[in-house]
Symmetry: C2
Subunit: 157 residues, 2 copies
DNA sequence: TACGATCGTCAACGTGGTTGACCAAACAGT
DNA sequence: ACTGTTTGGTCAACCACGTTGACGATCGTA
């Protein structure tokens, strides 16, 4: 029987986690916009990360946990924005390889730097040990290697 | 200068926060589906919470940080699902009051119970002190009274 | 009374997701 | 080598959620 502390209702936990996630992502994209990437949306960074060296739309869909059609559409938009490019696979005429462009790599690299800065800011505020403890605790209560990016459809859907 | 620990890259922090949020919400809705509320989406619980005693679509939109039109559409869907109902305001013919139905209150109550159970499960795993510390730390680094529910459009949009 | 602000709704659109259908290319079995 | 199955990409239709713009109807006030 969960003895619910009235001062610590359970519904606050997800709210705080979401708020933490959102402030980090908002701060990241505010900074990215300043550094020449104003069109990058939160989703895009995850997709770029998931492309890695080179993929196909189907493979990307599997990694992201969405259909190949959805992945293909997202690739289309990132191609239009100049962050991804398509190329033919010389060894399989069916496959269309998806690669990160120089602009994409620039955004990816800047994201990594800003994320490090933001984590450092948390460490300055809370103490480095609290941040690592927070990470360790979250790792404990969440499934490992978790990577499902269908957030819009998942939340609303 | 943020001295980035290679073992603790900054981008893990948002991923872990999102994973924590998502596992809580997924567990909640798996349980709610078992308890007779399979159509409830993650968004819906937040909306029901935001309605409170009685509101209007415009007011709801302000609380949720979305346009009145978006709020109105969401209310339409929750009315169709039987979680909300509309009524005329006897004192203002422009306003259409939005109220939570009995079914809505049932879902809300069950959600609160399940969230308490989930928080207790985290406390059993991590220790009660770590959970409260996690909450306190997140409260410190996030803006207070934060409540913006335009997640699908925000993330993808 | 007349004017401006507010509420709800309609319409059009963008983004992200889904399924189903389809063709072309690759693969595997006889 | 030919045939049958699987796979990759795309098109089409649809749904959920968000946006802005426009427009009547109603309320409050000058």
């Amino acid at each position: 029987m969960p003895s619910a502390d009235p001062g610590r209702p359970g519904f606050l936990l997800p709210l705080l986690l979401l708020a933490g996630f959102r402030t980090l992502i908002d701060d990241l994209h505010a900074e990215l916009a300043r550094q020449g990437h104003p069109e990058l949306r939160p989703l895009h960074g995850f997709v770029l990360q998931a492309v890695g060296d080179s993929t196909t739309a189907s493979e990307l869909g599997q990694r992201l946990g969405v259909s190949k059609q959805a992945a293909g559409k997202t690739v289309d938009r990132l191609v239009a924005l100049g962050y991804l490019e398509r190329a033919d696979d010389p060894r399989d005429a069916r496959r269309k390889l998806v690669r990160v462009t120089d602009r994409g790599r620039d955004g990816l690299h800047r994201s990594a730097v800003v994320f490090d800065e933001l984590r450092q800011r948390w460490a300055d505020t809370l103490g480095a040990d609290r941040v690592t403890a927070l990470e360790d605790d979250l790792r404990t209560v969440t499934p490992a290697n978790w990577f499902r990016l269908d957030v819009p459809g998942w939340f609303g859907g």
